[in-house]
């Protein structure tokens, strides 16, 4: 009796899990194996595995292409954009938490950027910042702040900040929603105790609230970091990696190598290198999260 129950449990469990595991295998395990094979071969889009070339694709990625630059751009874009978004997002969430009682309309408005397809986010910000017909340039010209329209996406130093602006517009709402939930999960008696002690709101925030929500904040940063490494659409819509290679990030460069230059072997090597970089950059944040969660 007990045995048949155990075997029934096992059969049901396996049957429930298998479809998802097969799905993950198709999406994650199979691509990885396939990529490793491609990376060591000369392959193009129409004609794969022409010949084994050892590490040629890997060395060529650094010596013959701008892939190194694109890796650097990806890392600093992900780190910086996520930091800006978590900082500003926490600030807005704190204001919402402390000063707004009925926030239905506010929450719906905040959701809109988050829901917008990233390619349309790019289009909206292109309209905002364009040299001809852009709202910001129109404003600045009319108030006499500038004589010549500024080409935000055509300028080496301004292009990345402009992309970060659009990225922040889209993703800061997610940070606000998550930080708001974290603030609401702080037990009420914590505030009461602080108020009895006569602590000012600002002091209460830094000394009491922030340590409590620190693990959640690191988790949000980690989530944004992972998502920021996947950015593709914004670059595609706004700069196509330019001017020059100023905004070429790894995802865009891999896509271009594979789908525009058809060098699939090289793209596979680039992809593997990129995966290693993503892991190396996110690992310390994961360790920080584990450390903070253990402490509390």
């Amino acid at each position: 009796m007990e045995r048949s129950r155990n075997s029934r449990l096992k059969i049901a469990s396996i049957a429930m899990v298998v479809p998802m595991v097969v799905g993950l295998a198709i999406f994650a395990a199979y691509p990885l194996v396939y990529l490793v094979a491609l990376a060591f071969s000369r392959s193009d889009l129409g004609n794969r595995f022409q010949k084994f070339v050892g590490l040629d694709n890997f060395t060529w990625a650094f010596e013959g292409t701008i892939f190194g630059t694109s890796l650097f751009n990806s890392v600093w874009f992900a780190l910086a954009a996520s930091a800006i978004q978590v900082g500003l997002g926490l600030f807005i969430a704190y204001l919402l938490h402390s000063y707004v009682r009925q926030g239905r309309l506010l929450r719906t408005l905040i959701l809109l950027p988050l829901m917008t397809p990233p390619i349309m986010v790019g289009i909206a910000w292109k309209l905002m910042l364009n040299p001809s017909g852009g709202w910001l340039n129109g404003m600045l010209l009319r108030f006499g702040a500038i004589d010549q329209p500024i080409s935000f996406f055509g300028d080496r130093t301004l292009a990345f900040p402009a992309i970060m602006l659009a990225d922040t517009w889209q993703w800061m709402p997610l940070v606000v929603i998550l930080c708001f939930a974290a603030l609401q999960s702080v037990p009420e008696d914590v505030y009461e105790a602080a108020a009895v002690d006569g602590a000012y709101p600002r002091r209460t925030f830094w000394k009491v609230t922030l340590p409590i929500i620190a693990p959640a904040l690191v988790a949000v940063y980690l989530l944004r970091l992972v998502m920021a490494f996947k950015t593709f659409d914004l670059i595609y819509a706004l700069t196509q990696g330019g001017p020059g290679n100023a905004t070429t990030i790894a995802t865009f460069e891999i896509w271009r190598t594979a789908m525009r230059e058809f060098d699939v072997g090289l793209a596979a090597a680039q992809t593997l290198l990129f995966a290693i970089v993503v892991t190396v950059v996110t690992l310390p944040v994961v360790m920080l999260f584990n450390h903070l969660e253990k402490r509390t």
């Binding site: 469990s13 899990v17 998802m20 595991v21 289009i123 998550l178 108020a195 196509q240 995802t251 793209a267």
Partner: protein, 276 residues
């Protein structure tokens, strides 16, 4: 609700100002896009916020220039189909992991690992796989790719909802002699409806908004999605901004409808999965 601490009037006023600025920042680009969609070509170049001479001409022109309507239809079909696939694959597995204790440590780890990996990793291999099974350039093929792509997100969202079901409820059903599948379908599923709705909506939005896979796996009018359509606008030398804005706005309407009508589900789903 936490009772806010007493605030000075000045700090309340300052907080409202900051919040107003934030809201302005969030809605301004959308309003400007909408406003641009009503501008004639020479009006666009003025860079003023409101159209001087509002026109509706951009909408029929954009829908004639690019098959916007069929692209939106493709996007809606793909995203709904893919969300159904994701849920079919993920709900039983999540249930088995949480309630039957099956592969309790392995599954979270492999889903997390496959979420962290940038999707561009899967692009090339899946392109060839879809080509092999003749699903390239089809709605079904793209829906299948998205259906699998969204498994990790759906798993992390659903997990907290399944956990919230008290164990006694399932155990009572098993003691009564109900099979595990029956318990899942008859007992757990009805309790999971809010979580499933939230997860489905988030998966629909993720699929609707996706560009990378869509741009590589759809070429023809019968399968091309709206995000791909909008990306093609970017390649043209002389972009008609009014028409581009009109097509963009039309393409944004489906997700905004979801945002407005299902705000609670969306925020509930987003906060359930990620922080807890």
């Amino acid at each position: 609700m936490t009772e806010p601490l007493p605030r000075s009037p000045r700090s309340v006023w300052l907080a409202r100002l900051w919040l107003a600025l934030a809201i302005l920042f969030f809605v301004l680009p959308i309003l400007y896009l909408l406003s641009t969609s009503f501008k004639a070509p020479d009006d666009v170049l003025q860079g003023r916020f409101f159209p001087t001479d509002p026109t509706l001409a951009n909408y029929p022109a954009a829908f004639g220039h690019v098959p916007v309507a069929s692209m939106i239809r493709n996007s809606v079909l793909v995203s709904i189909l893919s969300a159904a696939i994701t849920l079919l694959l993920t709900v039983p597995a999540t249930y088995a992991m949480v309630k039957l204790g099956f592969m309790r440590t392995i599954i979270p780890n492999i889903t997390l690992a496959s979420y962290v990996a940038p999707p561009v990793i899967a692009l090339i291999p899946l392109f060839f796989l879809m080509q092999r099974v003749h699903l390239i350039d089809t709605i079904a093929g793209l829906a299948l790719v998205y259906g699998i792509m969204n498994i990790p997100v759906a798993f992390w969202l659903l997990r907290s909802f399944v956990r919230a079901i008290p164990d006694e409820i399932d155990e009572a059903a098993w003691i009564d002699g109900a099979s595990y599948w029956r318990t899942l379908v008859r007992i757990a599923l009805p309790l999971l409806v809010p979580g499933i709705v939230a997860t489905a909506l988030i998966c629909i939005i993720l699929s609707y908004n996706e560009l990378l896979f869509a741009s590589s796996m759809t070429f023809g009018e019968s399968s091309r999605t709206i995000t791909v359509g909008m990306s093609l606008f970017q390649g043209e030398r002389l972009v008609n901004f009014g028409q581009m804005a009109a097509a963009s706005f039309a393409g944004m309407v489906p997700v905004y409808v979801i945002a407005v009508f299902f705000q609670r589900y969306l925020i509930g789903g987003l906060t359930q999965g990620s922080v807890k």
